[in-house]
């Protein structure tokens, strides 16, 4: 057992904290209030070489471990959940399937610019009629000569309005259910590919989320990722890794709620004393801190499994389940500690409370997480 981060991981964490203080925190309120996508921050993430952290240098990445990447997402999310998630979606959902299943040519063409931060990536699985039930997908891909023709629509697609490339899951053989799904690389701006309006969300409001509609969208045959019928496997493996990223995002949000609560409770005076001297508050703080630490260990352990080449599907699901529920519970407590002021727009805990909720939903709901965990245990 070794609970120490490496010196490099500690340095990266310190660097991200400084980065957040300088560039992310000052924008966070605007990002939330105006549903503003912080493109200037994304550019700076690129300068820091944080856009392809766990991928090898030959593909433009930094060649660091997954845990380093997780720490970056955690710290970014602690300052602004939108920023943390934007990087997570780009790295885990768009870059990973290319890295894992792409041909050398596909990697050079798409993974390299993604890792170098020359463009952002997006991943499209969910449909209006197919959320958790991915096999119900109605988007189709039909081979026509040297081209696949895609038709259908994808819903709640993060990063889609700003993406340079999409990984799109579509049905190539309806009769085979999930085994009939395939994954495709679709460059942004391909004729027939339309990105809808930025959806007005409850939380992570700056993250750009939209519907993606394909109408006779033609892509070259070589843009098939992996083999036909591998789409479901690619999506599930991609989400397994993504879940560690969402756990890190939730962890950052929960940590921020704890930070705000500790600070406020020491300053807020009632009955002539700071409220931190009352046991009711002390117990809330103790519970929050314990939950946050447990969430951190689960999350880091899942990342460690990934780095060691061990199976991590169950660990990722546990981390995401616990961290996201921790974030939801602790942001709620943080508002309770703040009282009325925490209910006012413009206060950080009010934003954290709304940002936390989505972590229980996307990249697999808490219910799916429980299915994954129990499925691993009971088979």
């Amino acid at each position: 057992m070794n609970f120490n981060l490496t010196e490099e991981q500690e340095l990266v964490r310190a660097g991200v904290r400084e980065f957040c203080q300088k560039y992310v925190e000052p924008l966070a309120e605007k990002v939330d209030e105006e549903a503003y996508f912080p493109m200037e921050t994304v550019k700076k993430l690129t300068e820091q070489e944080w856009t392809g952290i766990p991928y090898p240098a030959e593909y433009g990445g930094a060649g660091a471990d997954y845990l380093t990447y997780i720490i970056v997402v955690e710290e970014l999310s602690r300052a602004c959940a939108t920023t943390g998630f934007t990087l997570e979606c780009h790295t885990s959902l768009a870059s990973y399937p290319l890295y894992k299943f792409g041909t050398e040519e596909q990697k050079q063409k798409y993974l390299v610019p993604l890792c170098k931060g020359e463009m952002l990536g997006s991943f499209a699985l969910t449909e209006p009629g197919a959320g958790t039930d991915a096999g119900a997908a109605s988007t189709t891909a039909v081979l026509d000569g040297d081209e696949y023709v895609l038709n259908g629509s994808k819903m709640f697609i993060s990063n889609s309005p700003v993406a340079g490339v999409f990984i799109i899951i579509a049905m190539t053989d309806k009769s085979k259910g999930t085994k009939g799904l395939s994954a495709f690389i679709v460059p942004g701006g391909t004729p027939g590919l339309k990105v809808g309006e930025h959806l007005n969300k409850m939380g992570i409001r700056g993250s750009v989320t939209a519907e993606v509609v394909m109408k006779d969208c033609r892509i070259p045959k070589e843009n098939l990722l992996g083999n036909e019928g591998q789409g479901f496997k690619i999506a599930m493996m991609t989400l397994d890794g993504g879940r560690i990223g969402i756990a890190a995002q939730a962890l950052g949000i929960a940590q921020a709620a704890l930070d705000e609560s500790i600070q406020y409770s020491k300053e807020r005076v009632q009955f002539g004393k700071p409220i931190s001297s009352f046991q009711a508050i002390q117990w809330m703080i103790a519970n929050m801190a314990t939950d946050v630490q447990a969430a951190r260990f689960l999350t880091y352990h899942a990342a460690w499994c990934y780095d060691q080449g061990l199976p991590y599907s169950k660990e990722a699901a546990m981390a995401k389940l616990f961290a996201s529920e921790t974030a939801a519970r602790q942001t709620n407590r943080a508002i309770q500690i703040h009282g009325g002021i925490g209910f006012i727009k413009g206060h950080k805990v009010e934003r954290l409370y709304r940002d936390a909720k989505i972590t229980e939903i996307y990249e697999g709901t808490s219910e799916v997480m429980r299915m994954v965990i129990s499925g691993n245990l009971l088979r």
Binding site: E29, E267, R268, V269, I341, G346, H347
Partner: protein, 318 residues
């Protein structure tokens, strides 16, 4: 010659150190020796309690004050003072560090005060460490015991009647490798609130926008900036948003924060709690600002501020 030695680059600080030096001279039964930049100052220092004055030579156009280091170190080496206080300007701190290095002795930088061990002729000197979180006490085991003393640590030494003292001229400073090629005296300019040394903050106790002139005038006299609490910027729009301090606004750490009609809600206090000194003026004797302040005046800002401006103008000669 031994004794208590004093060097500061200006008259005010020299007089402050002279005051400390006089008291110490009695404890140590030693004389006070002061460096002076010209004969007029030499005479003045004697009249304010110096027993001897070391008159520094004139510097060339391209020499900076730091060129005195070899001169000062050489005379100190010959005369072996017990104590050497240096005025804590930026130049003073450099000179002190270099003289101490030449003399191989200890230097307490930023000495905020000391106690005297009369028997052993030792100073127990205090300095702030860890960004002001703690006070460390040190003694210097070598001679001279050196300290850099920040401005206004002591009152100026009073004029004493009928004093006489010896003035000794020091040899010319050697040409120095450091050549001054340009000098620009300081100009006053408006700065970012987080960098302001003095902030006059306007709260809801101010009745109308026109009255901001009071705050502006006070800030002008003090060389500070005007800021405000959140409602003054967000609700009343009297000042731009980058001027409000608080939990969601600017976090500032001026040397002096003056709140005019600021009630002192925790959300505002959070933004100003790193101020060195907080001074609040408010009509309401129970306003929370007084709990968070070092100095408070319970009174109507419309009466207090004009008086304050008037007195400051006189005292600061503005």
């Amino acid at each position: 010659m031994a004794g208590i030695w004093i060097f500061a680059e200006n008259r005010e600080q020299t007089l402050e150190l002279l005051n400390a030096g006089r008291n110490l001279a009695q404890d140590f039964k030693a004389k006070v020796v002061t460096f002076a930049l010209n004969v007029h100052l030499a005479e003045e220092y004697i009249n304010h309690g110096s027993d001897e004055v070391l008159l520094l030579p004139l510097l060339g156009q391209d020499q900076s004050l730091e060129s005195y280091v070899p001169v000062i170190a050489e005379v100190a080496r010959q005369e072996d003072p017990d104590v050497f206080f240096i005025g804590g300007t930026q130049r003073g701190r450099e000179i002190a560090a270099r003289v101490a290095a030449r003399l191989n002795t200890g230097l307490c930088g930023g000495c905020t005060g000391y106690k005297v061990d009369q028997k052993n002729k030792l100073l127990l000197m205090n300095r702030m460490i860890l960004g002001g979180a703690a006070v460390q006490t040190v003694v210097c085991t070598t001679r001279p015991q050196m300290a850099v003393i920040p401005p206004r640590t002591f009152e100026q030494a009073p004029l004493m009647e009928g004093r006489q003292g010896k003035v000794i001229e020091l040899p010319a400073a050697q040409p120095s490798a450091v050549k001054v090629i340009n000098r620009t005296p300081k100009v006053q300019e408006s700065v970012d609130l987080t960098e302001a040394k003095i902030i006059v903050s306007v709260g809801r106790g101010m009745e109308k926008k026109e009255d901001l002139s009071l705050a502006l005038e006070l800030a002008g006299v003090l060389g500070g900036e005007v800021g405000c609490s959140r409602p003054v910027a967000e609700e009343l729009h009297w000042l731009p948003e980058e001027r409000y301090m608080g939990i969601s606004g600017k976090k500032v750490k001026p040397d002096l924060y003056i709140g005019l009609g600021v009630s002192g809600q925790i959300q505002h206090i959070t933004g100003i709690r790193d101020s060195k000194i907080i001074f609040g003026i408010n009509r309401d004797e129970n306003a929370p600002i007084f709990e968070a302040a070092d100095y408070g005046i319970v009174g109507d800002l419309y009466e207090v501020v004009p008086k304050l401006i008037k007195e400051l103008k006189v005292l600061l000669k503005k």
